[in-house]
Amino acid sequence: MIPDLGRYTLEVSLAYVVSLGLIGVLAFFYWLRGRSVKRQLAEIETGRGKNG
């Protein structure tokens, strides 16, 4: 299944791992920040609802 990359195995797999890793990390951070901001906003909005 895995294609034979010959003597460039390290280079090609490194490029793929690093690139996908970077995109993955970026997406993860966007998701993480989005979740925390969403939760904080919800807290503030419900808090306001109770007070006034």
Partner: protein, 243 residues
């Protein structure tokens, strides 16, 4: 009458992207995975470059997006400066880290590719140099956003920086071209693996380009939604403090 500008209304934007974002995200994953798997497993080795040709499916789309994201930020900054739509400014803010990552991927895959092909990780080739400069511009833009507390001031200042920076980025591109030709006549290294590319490579490459575009769009929508929420939160907190 439905107009494009309606989506500049944050509420409308949130409502539309609420169902649009999952679709785009799934499409992004499917298309990118298709393109990369196609490119990685089902393309022949190049007779000259061997298996390293498979890096093209990451390198070219990332490099393309690195430039396109900056152009998108430029357009969004102009819209913000002229029409004062908050979504536009926040979209530019959300786009910058994606552009930075794309530039970084372009640089890293280029280095990994350059090592076996040219025998060096890095060369002061005009193209490579321009990308490094673009990377610096992204860094400056993000740093300025991060340094300013007031969101509207930040949006204004970064928008002006984006405009001025664009002019200087283009100037730097030509300066780099001029500079290297001036020093080493005719010793330029081409990044493109030849102009006549076979369809066996082209088809997965185009798929990857589309996939990277969709990945950007999905992250952009998600990031902009977050920024809109953060902006609203800031406004609420400020209002409460005033009351």
């Amino acid at each position: 009458m439905a107009s494009f500008w309606e989506y500049a209304n944050p509420l409308k934007f949130m409502r539309v992207t609420d169902w649009l974002l999952p679709i785009v995200a799934v499409a992004a994953v499917v298309v990118t995975a298709t393109g990369l798997i196609w490119g990685f497993f089902f393309t022949p080795d190049d007779f000259r470059q061997g298996a390293t040709v498979k890096i093209v499916f990451l390198h070219v789309p990332a490099a393309m997006m690195a430039i396109n994201v900056w152009v998108m930020m430029l357009v969004a900054s102009l819209i913000w400066l002229i029409r004062r739509h908050h979504v536009s400014a926040l979209a530019a803010k959300a786009a910058a880290p994606i552009g930075l990552t794309m530039t970084l991927i372009g640089l890293i895959t280029g280095a990994v590719w350059g090592q076996p092909m040219w025998g060096t990780w890095w060369a002061w080739d005009p193209r490579l140099t321009s990308f490094l400069i673009l990377f610096l511009f992204y860094l400056g833009y993000i740093a300025l956003w991060a340094a300013i507390d007031d969101p509207d001031t930040g949006a204004d200042l970064t928008a002006v920086l984006c405009l001025v920076g664009s002019v200087f980025a283009v100037l730097s591109r030509y300066a780099a071209l001029f500079w290297n030709q001036g020093l080493h006549q005719g010793a330029s290294l081409s990044v493109q693996p030849g102009t006549r590319m076979d369809w066996a490579y082209k088809a997965p490459l185009y798929t990857c380009m589309l996939g990277f575009g969709l990945v950007f769009l999905a992250l952009l929508l998600a990031g902009t939604r977050t920024e809109i929420r953060a902006r609203r939160m800031k406004a609420l907190v400020a209002r409460e403090r005033m009351a």
